[in-house]
């Protein structure tokens, strides 16, 4: 028997954006009933891995205009400038609220919140908590959300389908991973806060749960995915594991060196100018790849890498400002950064693209919202500046939460019978997957997806390689239909969850490859060898990837300019 539950607001995902949206919703209307449905317990959300910091104007020698301009310049002028304007205004308030809720921000001697330098930022405006800001932010938000009885958590429940009726989203079908049963949760608005899709790549800082679920959910209901081609490579990840070594290492003065012990970001021209190690991420990642291709990298068991040298910072500063970096380097690279350089190479880190939303977080499907990395409100355009993402989750999570409450008031209750049918259909589909026979296995398809994404949509791209990836992914989708699942059990069947996640990843990977093949220019993180220059005449627009019967259709969406005129991106 299908269990049906009713709430006013349904939030999918328990990370920074989801938690902030839930808090904003119950603060906007204390009587609203909020369901937080998350695939994992909220404190496991990938926000926990963020290390560097969260950006917001705090110092007297800083102002909103500078933060705005840094962000738009970082975005290679593809970010929507009304969104950026709102973002920089709200950022300090959101981080202050978080401080009131107990977030242990690192402090100056006078008790004010300390800030540090970050890539592409003109001054120190990244608030930090040693090098575990994501962890502290997530736990502060999660513990703060516990005080609201109106927020009902559905932990380890995997939303596999949005239930749409009468042209609006009415609820979600969620697989209770523990019980193995599919449940229908009805609501007046749904907010997607499921994070990015880094795991479609072989080498990523992202955790195992970053499989683009929210993007796939929206895409399957006809909601377009925007700017999917822009994938951020973070310059400093540990070879092999892909674990992130935060940009704060460079913010605190670390050097990036090649095998000639040369600070090539200073001695050579990679467009970062005087910012050197603190240039934007896309530029530094490209510089490292070029150094390696020029034979000035090191060779290791996990491929080529360069050095991140912190030895001149001294043990005291490292232990005070970068304790986790030291722990991670010793544990996962066998290197103590106080005495030796850390091996690093560019690693997939963040998806600028995502579910197309307006400034309120609303999508084209009435009642469906999205916030955080899953969404593309287009704050980040073609390249995100370090430490803007955590703040984005707060600013737009809160806005989506408030707006959804307003929207929900004008919506009548869902028609249960129509929705029940869709949920029962979904339950049958999932049941058929358990122990499904077939010629293919999950792991090989996953590895092939990842390798074709790396070859086609890596740091440097060209038309032929991207077209090949689009073809290979379509082939993998067909092979996925014939996948076999060994585990036919009902209770906590993680193989079933993995299969559903792979289905989502393949969907999202296709939209990424198709959008990348469409954009014939180099902009921000999307760098092509066959179209080296940025082409504002023909490509100053957002790509919208629609799902339609023939496959994937790419449309255009205008960029909201206004405050800052596009100019050449020089540092």
């Amino acid at each position: 028997m299908l269990e049906v539950i009713r709430h006013d607001i349904i939030i999918v995902g328990g990370g920074a954006a989801g938690l902030r949206a839930a808090i904003a919703a119950v603060e906007a209307d204390p009587d609203v009933s909020v369901a937080m449905v998350s695939k994992v317990y909220p404190m496991r959300s990938h926000t926990v891995s963020a290390e560097g910091g969260a950006a917001a104007v705090a110092r007297s020698d800083d102002n909103l205009e500078m933060h705005g301009f840094d962000t738009v310049k970082g975005s290679d002028f593809l970010g929507d400038q009304d969104v950026i304007q709102f973002f920089v205004e709200e950022a300090p308030k959101e981080l202050t609220l978080l401080e009131h809720w107990g977030c242990p921000w690192s402090r100056n001697e006078d008790g004010t919140v300390a800030t540090r330098a970050f890539g592409g930022m003109s001054t120190k405006r990244t608030w930090y908590a040693a090098d575990k800001v994501g962890f502290h932010m997530l736990h502060t938000l999660f513990q703060h959300s516990m005080r609201f009885d109106r927020i009902v958590r559905y932990d380890e429940q995997f939303v596999t389908k949005l239930v749409v009726d009468g042209g609006a989203v009415r609820g979600v079908a969620a697989l209770d991973v523990r019980e193995g049963a599919v449940r229908l949760i009805l609501g007046r608005a749904v907010i997607l806060a499921t994070g990015g899709a880094g795991k479609i790549f072989p080498f990523t800082t992202n955790g195992n749960i970053k499989t683009g679920d929210g993007m796939a959910l929206a895409y399957r209901e006809g909601v377009p995915l925007k700017d999917m081609e822009f994938v951020q490579y973070h310059p400093t990840g540990l070879p092999g594991t892909g674990i992130l070594i935060t940009e704060a290492t460079r913010g605190e003065g670390g050097y990036v060196k090649n095998n000639e012990d040369e600070r090539f970001l200073v001695t050579r021209d990679y467009g970062v100018g005087t910012k050197a190690e603190l240039g934007p991420r896309d530029m530094i990642s490209r510089a490292i790849v070029q150094e390696i291709e020029a034979g000035r990298g090191f060779e290791g068991p996990y491929g080529a890498y360069v050095h991140l040298d912190l030895t001149h910072l001294g043990e005291a500063k490292i232990d005070e400002r970068l304790p986790m970096v030291r722990e991670l380097a010793k544990l996962y690279a066998g290197v103590d950064p106080v005495h030796e350089a850390i091996p690093i190479r560019p690693v997939v880190h963040y998806m600028m693209g995502g579910v197309d939303t307006d400034i309120d977080g609303a999508t084209t499907l009435p009642g469906l919202y999205a916030a955080g990395e899953v969404a593309c409100v287009s704050l980040n355009g073609a390249n995100r500046l370090g430490s803007n993402s955590l703040t984005e989750c707060l600013v737009f999570g809160a806005r989506a939460g408030r707006h959804a409450v307003g929207f929900a008031k004008g919506v009548h209750a869902a028609n249960e019978n129509a929705c029940r049918g869709q949920a029962e259909e979904e339950a049958a589909r999932i049941a058929s997957l358990r122990g499904k026979k077939g010629a293919e296995k999950l792991a090989p398809i996953r590895e092939e997806m990842r390798s074709t994404m790396e070859s086609g949509c890596g740091v440097y791209r060209e038309q032929a390689s991207m077209d090949e990836t689009v073809r290979a992914l379509a082939e993998l989708r067909r092979r996925f239909e014939d996948v076999s699942l060994e585990d036919a059990s009902v209770v906590f069947n993680t193989e079933l969850v993995t299969a559903l996640e792979l289905d989502n990843m393949l969907e999202v990977a296709e939209t990424l490859a198709v959008s990348a093949a469409h954009r014939k220019e180099s902009r921000g993180a999307h760098t092509r060898k066959d179209h080296v220059a940025r082409d504002d005449q023909n490509y100053l627009y957002h790509t919208l990837c629609h799902r339609d019967p023939t496959g994937h259709r790419v449309d255009k969406k205008a960029v909201t300019l206004g405050t800052w005129e596009p100019e050449e991106r020089k540092y």
């Binding site: 994992v40 317990y41 404190m43 496991r44 959300s45 990938h46 926990v48 891995s49 308030k93 202050t96 609220l97 401080e99 009131h100 809720w101 107990g102 242990p104 921000w105 690192s106 402090r107 100056n108 001697e109 006078d110 008790g111 004010t112 919140v113 575990k132 962890f135 502290h136 736990h139 513990q143 703060h144 516990m146 005080r147 932990d155 523990r178 955790g207 195992n208 749960i209 092999g240 594991t241 674990i243 992130l244 986790m324 722990e327 991670l328 544990l331 996962y332 066998g334 999950l442 792991a443 699942l485 060994e486 585990d487 059990s489 009902v490 209770v491 906590f492 069947n493 993680t494 193989e495």
Partner: protein
């Protein structure tokens, strides 16, 4: 694949098939710098797709992959295989009901965590316009290491009192409650100390110190619990002398 092999004896349990947990044995070709989790994921992908376990960040910060390895609570994404010989026994966390294979029931901990009110309690809600609180680095240092708890549950698995006294709040929940008591922005000491003296009382702790031994993040919950005892006693004593004294 390297030629070195290790034998993994993994506890299995499917409530629909098994009356009680059983053990499966796997031969796994291991890489030198693998952690225990890498071997479990190899088993899942290549040998036995029915094995269920929790993991996500693989960088020892999300707290999902706590298990018993050779009888000791361990964060498997952080635990190098080189620590172990040819035979590695992996079992679900001790002191927890087992849902499936290596997956345990966490809601018991969530109830305990919520009951210590782990959030900033203030008489008057500070307005955003007033800006952030002033908190000196020294004040931050007072509670910072207690705020490092990643809720991985290793301390609960190591604690003999958790094993024998179901109401006991347990190391992590007390440490997080104590963390807020020590936060200069919080005024919830009295309320939390009453909870600490209540049903799941902190005084049940008889100082095995195993919780601090196994903690992968060096939170030292044993220190937190015993400091909380101190605070609860002082608060209890002063409540006779100066009833309902608000923290100045």
């Amino acid at each position: 694949m390297s030629d070195q092999k290790k034998t993994f004896v993994v506890t299995r349990f499917d409530p629909d098939k098994d009356d009680a947990p059983r053990q499966d044995t796997y031969e796994v070709p291991v890489e030198p710098q693998w952690k225990v989790l890498d071997a479990l994921n190899y088993i899942k992908d290549e040998i036995d797709g029915t094995l269920s376990h929790r993991w996500s960040c693989r960088m020892a910060v999300c707290g999902s992959c706590g298990m018993m390895v050779n009888g000791v609570p361990s964060l498997t994404c952080k635990d190098p295989l080189s620590n172990y010989g040819d035979r590695v026994e992996v079992a679900p966390l001790a002191n927890f009901p087992v849902v499936r294979d290596l997956v345990v029931e966490l809601d018991g901990f969530m109830n305990k965590l919520e009951s210590v009110k782990p959030w900033v309690l203030t008489a008057k809600q500070r307005a955003v316009e007033e800006g952030t609180y002033r908190q000196s680095p020294a004040e931050l240092e007072q509670f910072r290491h207690f705020s490092m708890c990643i809720n991985c549950m290793l301390c609960y698995s190591a604690c003999p009192v958790v094993a024998n006294e179901p109401e006991f709040l347990g190391p992590a929940a007390i440490a997080l409650g104590h963390r807020y008591n020590l936060d200069s922005r919080d005024e919830g000491n009295r309320e939390r100390n009453e909870i600490f003296r209540g049903e799941g009382t902190v005084f049940s702790c008889s100082y095995a110190n195993e919780c601090s031994e196994v903690c992968p993040k060096h939170v030292d919950p044993a220190a937190a619990v015993n400091q909380a005892k101190f605070g609860a006693v002082i608060d209890w004593a002063t409540s006779f002398v100066v009833p309902r004294r608000e923290k100045e």
